[in-house]
């Protein structure tokens, strides 16, 4: 298989299939319809990819899962059929210019009266309206998002292996960035090197930003700024490998560290270290955010720890689930063993500007571990 490197084992798919079946039983529902946009990123995971291993090319995809039946994948692009047949797990693939209507047809064949719909929140209005109108009022539609989020919240060994592979790619991309960074090079040229390494190593995408400036306010895409001594490069590198993301956040100073940068980077490092030491299964996402904000506030940066300077102290790395969500003070979601997410005490400092530092972590029984190898520090070139 051409994409065999990305394929999860049959056992993993069988586990997901069982999860769908038991989830549907719990809510006494006969079928799960999964909608995918073809855009898979950590804030907007493509549920079709999670359930089938297939990511459509930029358009609507519907997957119909009926317990005991072969899953059927409806793709809106003829070009997607062969690829879907190769990569999708156990699914019959059907080309349908209107995949929503085709999914409804399948539900009717099955005589389904109650269906869970996952991915509705990503559906454009016209697509949702057409789907529900074709389905008719006699079929009850409830949300299937929670069912998949529950299944995907905690990552198993195969999934964590892919997160580790994504992390290794992030490390390599960061090394390439360090090698390329020098005065005169444009920020977008650095991004070009990062993307090159990421893609050469087998990642399909990157939810990352490279930017630079003498005094950054936030990360953003490159603008054409050419590096000069004193600039700070913000490197947020987030490869997607086989659907799984890992994120690495580091700052790089061009030239020597200024005393204030050294001081602020040391504080940021302390925040990360103390926070990671405090992450345990059973604690909440809010606790993590509060830990970071407290240390920053104690150091006099409380005002810069909230909007518009800072909003979230990390987030899930969504594949099927965005758990534990944003690391904010109002998110009481409980951290569980097996969760993977990024913790980043990124911070605006009045003397140094915006500095970033963050690691992807896996929650283990007694704490956390990171698959990243890049030292958690500020770098200079």
């Amino acid at each position: 298989m051409r994409l065999s490197g990305f394929r999860l084992s049959e056992a993993e798919w069988a586990k997901r299939n069982r999860g769908v079946t038991s989830g549907l039983e719990e809510v006494r529902t006969e079928a799960l319809v999964v909608y995918g946009t073809g855009q898979h990123h950590l804030l907007l995971p493509d549920y079709v990819l999670f359930c089938s291993g297939f990511l459509g090319i930029g358009t609507h995809t519907f997957l119909v899962l009926v317990p005991g039946e072969t899953p059927e994948l409806f793709v809106a692009e003829r070009a997607d059929v062969t690829r879907a047949e190769v990569v999708a797990w156990m699914a019959t693939v059907t080309y349908a210019p209107d995949p929503g209507a085709a999914a409804v047809g399948r539900l009717r064949q099955q005589g389904v009266r109650r269906v869970a719909l996952a991915g509705r929140r990503w559906m454009p209005y016209d697509t949702f309206r057409a789907f529900t109108e074709t389905l008719g009022q006699e079929v009850a539609v409830l949300s299937g998002d929670a069912l998949l989020e529950e299944m995907a919240r905690v990552k198993g060994p195969e999934e964590r292996k892919r997160v580790s592979q994504a992390a290794a790619i992030a490390d390599a991309a960061f090394a390439a960035l360090l090698a390329a960074a020098r005065p005169g090079v444009a920020d977008y040229e650095l991004a070009a090197e990062v993307e090159y390494v990421i893609k050469c190593l087998g990642a399909s995408d990157n939810f990352g930003l490279i930017s630079a400036g003498a005094r950054n306010e936030a990360g953003h895409p490159p603008t054409g700024h050419r590096l000069a001594p004193g600039d700070v490069i913000l490197a947020e590198i987030t490869p997607c490998y086989g659907g799984y993301f890992a994120q690495l956040c580091r700052s790089i100073v061009v030239g020597n560290l200024l005393p204030q940068q050294k001081r602020d980077a040391a504080l940021q490092h302390r925040v990360l270290t103390e926070t990671l030491a405090a992450v345990r299964p059973g604690r909440s996402a809010a606790t993590i955010a509060r830990t970071m904000n407290r240390i920053m506030s104690d150091a006099g940066y409380g005002i810069y720890s909230h909007p518009p300077y800072m909003r979230s102290r990390g987030h899930g790395l969504g594949f099927g689930s965005t758990s534990p969500g944003e690391l904010t003070e109002d998110n009481e979601q409980v951290i569980e063993e097996g969760m993977t997410f990024v913790v980043h005490p990124n911070q605006y400092f009045p003397d140094s500007g915006y500095l970033i530092l963050g690691d992807t972590i896996e929650v283990v029984a007694d704490g956390v571990q990171t698959p990243l190898q890049t030292p958690a520090q500020i770098f200079t070139v």
């Binding site: 090319i57 209005y125 995408d205 909007p307 800072m310």
Partner: protein, 375 residues
């Protein structure tokens, strides 16, 4: 050709003030407000996301890096731009758009939109573009009560599309610049084309070449015999014989160019034959005929090749702020930017694909994406 869409724009994203001076947007605003006046609408709401942003960007020049944005244009007065991002991103958004009033709407635009619509009175008549097709259904349902009687709202996507169809000189320059990036991408790919190379390395080289020239965004697809359809790059290794078909697109200042090439050491004669047909089609492109009429005329010209099953597909599409812009039924005008796809297939089912971005001039079509035989 369909492409994977990168999840986050990581290319050079800026506002080239020299190429797109603020006066050009004042002109566009005036044109849009004239449309509103003609239709009796009080305001326009134009939505776009990171993948399809044509109407939003035509008015605002803003480019969503992910998620989307909404521009509200009153019939009289200044527009407001909502970005589906946090307030921290407002300075960056302002650097991309001429619109002064930029508001963050990370939790949806409903609350902010309600405030903006107040001055328009209790039951404004609203013109919409892109909302139903692109806005996520929960967000749409949030703003639905603000839109009033659905029978009074107007869909003006077609009117905006007509405004956008013929490109001004600065828009043509942006497409031309994007086309140079695409050409560089093909040259980079051709430079490392060899049996044993994997398609992801091939496409990574093309991507790097485009990014190094400052491509804002890009799309790529590749297919290797015997697959007939384009895929995202994989670890699939190029065979010693047979062709690899590559589709590349790049954008500059929000404007796209696109091309496709079939590369192969062993299929040069077939590629040359297809290139001859493709070039003949390009030579026959010109203003004064509809897109459909143009393709029909070309099909007639090559009827024998079609009858023999050699010429599988001729396709003409618009390109600009969107990768695929509707061309409508009216005659094409000088200033339109188009993509012509030519696909041939041999008896042994080897498929050759060529595509180019062209600018229609009064004298014919100017190919922007480099010569087919240069590779």
């Amino acid at each position: 050709m369909r492409f994977y869409h990168p999840v986050l724009k990581a290319g050079r994203t800026w506002w080239d003030h020299e190429l797109f001076p603020v006066e050009r947007f004042a002109d566009r605003l005036g044109q849009v407000q004239m449309v509103l006046q003609r239709l009796g609408a009080d305001a326009l709401l134009a939505y776009g996301d990171a993948q399809r942003y044509g109407h939003l960007t035509y008015i605002s020049h803003y480019l969503p890096k992910h998620r989307g944005g909404l521009v509200v244009v009153p019939r009289n007065g200044e527009p407001v731009l909502f970005i589906e991002a946090g307030s921290r991103e407002i300075p960056w958004a302002r650097s991309l758009s001429w619109i002064n009033d930029v508001r963050a709407a990370s939790d949806g635009v409903a609350r902010g939109l309600a405030e903006v619509l107040v001055p328009l009175g209790p039951a404004p008549r609203l013109a919409l573009a892109g909302l139903r097709e692109l806005m996520r259904s929960p967000d749409w349902e949030d703003i639905l009560p603000l839109l009033g009687d659905p029978s009074r709202t107007l869909d003006v996507a077609e009117e905006l599309t007509v405004l956008r169809r013929t490109k001004e000189r600065n828009e043509q320059e942006a497409v031309t610049h994007a086309a140079e990036m695409v050409t560089a991408g093909f040259e980079a790919a051709a430079g490392i084309l060899a049996a044993g190379a994997s398609t992801d390395v091939l496409m990574a080289a093309a991507e790097r070449a485009m990014r190094r020239l400052g491509a804002e965004d890009m799309r790529m697809a590749v297919s290797v015999e015997p697959d007939s359809e384009p895929w995202p790059a994989t670890r699939q290794v190029l065979p010693a014989h047979g062709g690899v078909r590559i589709g590349l697109a790049a954008s500059y200042q929000r404007y796209w160019a696109q091309a496709a090439r079939t590369l192969s050491a062993g299929l040069q004669d077939l590629i040359a034959d297809t290139a001859a047909v493709h070039t003949a089609c390009l030579v026959n492109l010109g203003p004064g005929r509809s897109a459909e009429g143009t393709v029909a005329a070309l099909s007639t010209k090559f009827a024998s090749l079609q009858a023999a099953g050699v010429l599988k597909r001729l396709d003409l599409r618009g390109i600009g702020l969107d990768l695929d812009e509707p061309l409508g039924t009216a005659s094409l005008q000088a200033g339109a930017t188009l993509v012509l796809h030519t696909t041939t297939e041999t008896a042994s089912e080897v498929r050759i694909l060529l595509a180019d971005t062209v600018l229609l001039t009064k004298d014919g079509a100017r190919v922007l994406t480099g010569k087919v035989d240069a590779l």
